[in-house]
C-alpha cells in the first residue's frame, strides 16, 4: 500500500491553489470522474480557507500541512495547522429564505463548512497540543 503524499504550504490565500492541485492529482489517481475531482478540489479549498480565516485569523500566520492517501477504498485528505482550536459546533449553519425578497433572512456564515460536509463523505475535526487536524474522506466507487 502506498504511503501518504505530503505537502506543506504557507497559510496564504494565493497558495491554496497549490494545495488543491496537489489533492486533485491524488483524486485523479484514485480514479474519480471530473465532477467528483471538482468537488474534492472545492472541499480542499474551503478547508484551507477555513484554516487561514479561523485557525490563524490572518494570512502568513503559519503553515498548512496537506496529505492524501488512497486506503481501503477511500480517498483520505488530512490537513494540519498550528492555529487556534477550530470548533465546528460554534459555526452557524447557512440558511436560504424561501422567497428571495427576505433579504434579512439570508445567512451566509458557515458556507465553507457546509460545502466541506456536503462535498465529502466524512469530515472530522480534532485538536491537540500541536494544532488542528482535519480528516476528509471520499469513498471510491
Amino acid at each position: 500500500m502506498a504511503s501518504p503524499k505530503n505537502l506543506t504550504i504557507p497559510g496564504r490565500y494565493d497558495r491554496i491553489r497549490e494545495a488543491c492541485d496537489f489533492v486533485v492529482a491524488g483524486a485523479e489517481e484514485a480514479g474519480f470522474d471530473p465532477d467528483e475531482v471538482f468537488r474534492i478540489q472545492l472541499a480542499c479549498d474551503e478547508a484551507c480557507t477555513n484554516i487561514i480565516e479561523h485557525a490563524y485569523g490572518v494570512e502568513d500566520a503559519g503553515e498548512i500541512g496537506v496529505s492524501w492517501e488512497i486506503k481501503k477504498g477511500a480517498f483520505i485528505i488530512e490537513l494540519r495547522d498550528s492555529g487556534r482550536p477550530f470548533r465546528p459546533e460554534t459555526v452557524p449553519s447557512p440558511s436560504v429564505p424561501d422567497t428571495p425578497e427576505d433579504v434579512d433572512e439570508l445567512k451566509v456564515g458557515g458556507l465553507g463548512l457546509h460545502f466541506m460536509r456536503t462535498l465529502m463523505d466524512e469530515v472530522k475535526f480534532s485538536f491537540n497540543d500541536e494544532g488542528n487536524h482535519l480528516v476528509m474522506v471520499k469513498n471510491i466507487g
Binding site: Y13, D14, I16, R17, D35, F38, L42, D45, E46, T49, P94, V96, P97, P100, V103, L106, V108, L111, G112, H114, F115, T118
Partner: protein
C-alpha cells in the same frame, strides 16, 4: 484584466469577471461592485462567462452586494454561469436567491425593460 465594466444605461452596469472567483479575486470584485452601488448604479449584472471556478467566498461576495443592492431598491443579476459554477450555486440554494440568466443579452434586456 480580471474584471471589466460596461455602462448599459443610467444606473445600470454590467461587470464581467474572468478567472477563479476565490479569495485571490473576490475582494477586488466586491470592492468594484460596492463602489458602483455607491456611484448610483443600483442595477448590476455580473457576467460570469469567464469564471471557471467559484468557492464559498465568491458566493458570499455576490450575496453581500446583492443584499446591499436590494436595500437600495436595486438588484444584482447573474449571467453566463457554466455548469460547474451553476452546481455550486444550487448546492446552497443560491440559484433561488439570484435571478440567473443563461444568456447575458437576455439579462441586459431584462434590466432595460
Amino acid at each position: 484584466m480580471n474584471i471589466w465594466q460596461e455602462t448599459i444605461s443610467d444606473g445600470i452596469q454590467l461587470v464581467g469577471v474572468n478567472g477563479r472567483l476565490d479569495q485571490t479575486l473576490t475582494p477586488t470584485l466586491e470592492a468594484a461592485l460596492l463602489n458602483l452601488l455607491d456611484q448610483g448604479y443600483h442595477q448590476l449584472i455580473v457576467n460570469l462567462q469567464g469564471v471557471n471556478y467559484i468557492n464559498s467566498g465568491g458566493l458570499r461576495c455576490l450575496v453581500t452586494v446583492w443584499r446591499q443592492a436590494h436595500q437600495k431598491g436595486g438588484d444584482l443579476k447573474l449571467c453566463g454561469l457554466n455548469e460547474r459554477v451553476s452546481k455550486v450555486f444550487s448546492m446552497v440554494g443560491f440559484d433561488k436567491v439570484f435571478q440567473i440568466y443563461e444568456d447575458c443579452d437576455a439579462a441586459r434586456r431584462a434590466v432595460i425593460d
